[in-house]
Symmetry: C2
Subunit: 430 residues, 2 copies
């Protein structure tokens, strides 16, 4: 036997599949290639193009070839800090900012360098615990439910810690709002209460605010306002700027957590080195903001809100429970009231539900289990992004922001989304 | 006491400094800002601009915003495979290629997913064992010396394995040629002998060929020609294409190691996701090649060879031992014959040597210890890249490739390099 043919893999990695969101994208590509009509509500990619001033900035930076500083280009770090001062009211400077190749990578590095327990709040983003598993990290779960809009609350947080009997254990709580996969967000009152508990137990809060700029009413509030000394704010270009494929995320650390920021930078210098130079130069423009970008944001928010408003009633009327989101482009669908009927169709878990739905209607969604719900839980995430964002933007701009968006814009520009959602409703009720 | 102020860090990371090459770059920046003249021979960044057709391709791709497949854009994977078929005679296809944000990141992921011993050959590239340390991996070292041009040989490799008494232990041998930090490369005969030992013990060879295209005579040979079933070829845009700051590296796996490629892709999907989309689109152009890029390569090789030829004698005549390199842009300087004289100046290790040299002459180099040599070893790496690559390219193009490069071009365009090297020689002899 030739020994090199033996598979010799880290057991933390063995058996782990590809990220669920990326896998569904590959599957939709393959189905479309085979000629099937697919409603791709799987991957959460912004449907909108990158704003033109930012694309123009990338063209202008195409010749930038130097390795940039590990923490990021100083001008970009300043632009990110200024962005958080301006939009979130945070008291931060360039020194607080770390730029990475996507906030996902930075979250992985935090889990790598930090020694402590990771606290997650399912349903929550798909990659948090595969990362913990790859690194062999310990994590704990704070569950929620439909009635609480899939959110945790301060009393639950305090209780979950007190029950363990180790109040001063190093803990890192990951919050994400507006939430992927639910679209719900925390209000100021809820955040203040959570901040108080976090302070009492000395938690580090990793506040994933990548959808903050996609709050439909532009009223996103960061928990860092109430717990600045213990909060890392995570953001990036992927969602509000439509540039997921560019791969640029940012972490903003308080001075008190400089030891953690420095450890991340050390590992960054031995792994990804720095973010692509042309992308960093272009990102300065994105974070600096300008009237054109403000206009873009206002229109994208208005379109997403209108789509959500159009499709939620279709689902609720069919008995698929769903909350209207506060921001982002997700709905978290609860089919549990159909449990008996679905069982009669041999559907007893979320994964089978999504597979059968895809096979029978062409609609791709991800099961709740990918977001930390139980396997038998009949929930699924719908990313309502399968429409031509450029056309929708143009139509919305034609109306102007002073008037409400006519219903016809969604019907015309986002017909695929409405169609796909109707198919879900019909399929559930059939 | 507020518990979150406690530092709670992974012990594998604690105390680890920033990558030595990046740290020296930051230090040179700071010294220059303070008005000091600095000869920056620290960071190994190509002095040449990115070829214009590749910059143009990035401009054209500025609007590309989609998340790309984890393994890379299919057209890019095909271009990389075709590049290796054309320039290295390897029998590979797009399916064998994985694209990552720099080959450094891919090497880290290999160390993360692979379960086995990592074999390194110091003096070798700075990041291999900090990566192993961060991940808590076991590694072993195969040392070399000046007389052997800092290379290992087949007999040494076989012996080092046999001595352990565990022939079938999973092992991954990292080879890098032309070498950073020495500029030496292996010839066909040496590679065949190493390949034979690798096959006998079922080693995986990670063949870091990032400088392959910078072999001065265009005669780089890959060990994958002789050990295709067990070799991963590492390459990227950073060196031959002058695009270090773009962050794009590639691994090409044999079919036999698909389990390792798939595990890397899984972890990639949970960390960096995919390489920046505009960069991937531009890289297709770089790997596809064209007469303009061939011309660029021919001139950059000629210039680097001429600079090496100009400066090596200055050092050797002063008693600083150095081999003329076969490729890349490094010299590995051996000051050990000055040990007694340097001891008289309170210099007893490589780090002090480099610090005093920087303080007393303005020349920045990295000590051999950064490349795995002993602390007391009086060696240092010189990256002869502190010159205006665009101007040198223009001057070389003015001469044409059919005639030899006139000595005046190096004197005129690379005066800083020659000056800096003279300072080293004078300082050593003083």
């Amino acid at each position: 036997m030739n020994p090199q043919k033996q598979v010799s893999l880290n057991l933390n990695v063995r058996g782990l599949g590809q990220s669920a969101t990326l896998a569904i994208k590959d599957r939709c590509r393959a189905l479309r290639r085979s000629g099937r009509e697919v409603y791709d509500f799987g991957l959460g990619q912004s449907p909108f193009p990158v704003p033109e001033p930012v694309v123009e900035a990338l063209r202008a930076a195409a010749g930038q070839k130097d390795y940039l500083p590990v923490m990021g280009l100083p001008e970009l770090r300043e632009a990110v800090a200024a962005h958080h001062r301006r939009t979130d009211g945070l008291n931060v400077s360039a020194d607080n900012v770390l730029v990475g190749p996507g906030s996902k990578e930075l979250m992985f590095l935090v889990q790598l360098v930090y020694y402590g327990e990771i606290m997650l709040t399912p349903p929550c983003w798909v990659s948090y615990w595969p990362q913990a598993r790859i690194l062999g990290r310990r994590f704990s779960l704070l569950h929620s439910d439909f009635v609480r809009h899939w959110k945790i609350d301060a009393a639950q947080l305090a209780q979950s810690i007190e029950l363990v009997g180790d109040d001063h254990r190093p803990r890192l709580l990951v919050l994400n709002y507006p939430s992927n996969p639910t679209g719900s967000t925390y209000d100021e009152h809820e955040l203040k209460a959570l901040a108080e508990v976090a302070r009492r137990f000395g938690l580090i809060v990793l506040s994933d605010e990548i959808y903050g700029q996609l709050h439909y009413h532009g009223r996103h509030v960061s928990i860092a306002r109430f717990y600045p000394e213990g909060t890392i704010v995570s953001s990036g270009l992927s969602k509000w700027c439509g540039a997921g494929g560019w791969r640029l995320g940012t972490f903003t650390f308080p001075n008190e957590l400089d030891w953690l920021a420095n450890a991340l930078a050390t590992v960054a210098s031995e792994t990804y080195t720095s973010v692509s130079a042309p992308i960093q130069h272009a990102a300065i423009r994105a974070f600096s903001g300008c009237p054109l970008i403000e206009d873009y944001l206002a229109h994208t928010r208005r379109i997403l809100a209108a789509v959500a408003q159009r499709i939620c009633p279709i689902l609720n009327e069919a008995g698929v429970r769903v909350h209207e989101p506060d921001g982002a482009f997700y709905l978290f669908l609860d089919f549990n009231s159909f449990a008996a009927a679905l069982a009669g169709r041999s559907i007893a878990d979320g994964r089978t539900l999504c597979e059968r739905l895809l096979a029978e209607t062409g609609v791709a969604m991800l099961p709740g289990a990918a977001f930390g719900r139980g396997r038998r839980d009949l929930t699924a995430r719908l990313a309502f992004v399968d429409f031509d964002g450029a056309a929708a933007l143009e139509a919305s701009r034609g109306v102007g922001l002073e008037r409400p968006l006519p219903a016809g814009v969604v019907e015309r520009c986002c017909a695929r989304v409405v169609d796909g959602v109707r198919r879900i409703a019909e399929w559930a009720a059939s």
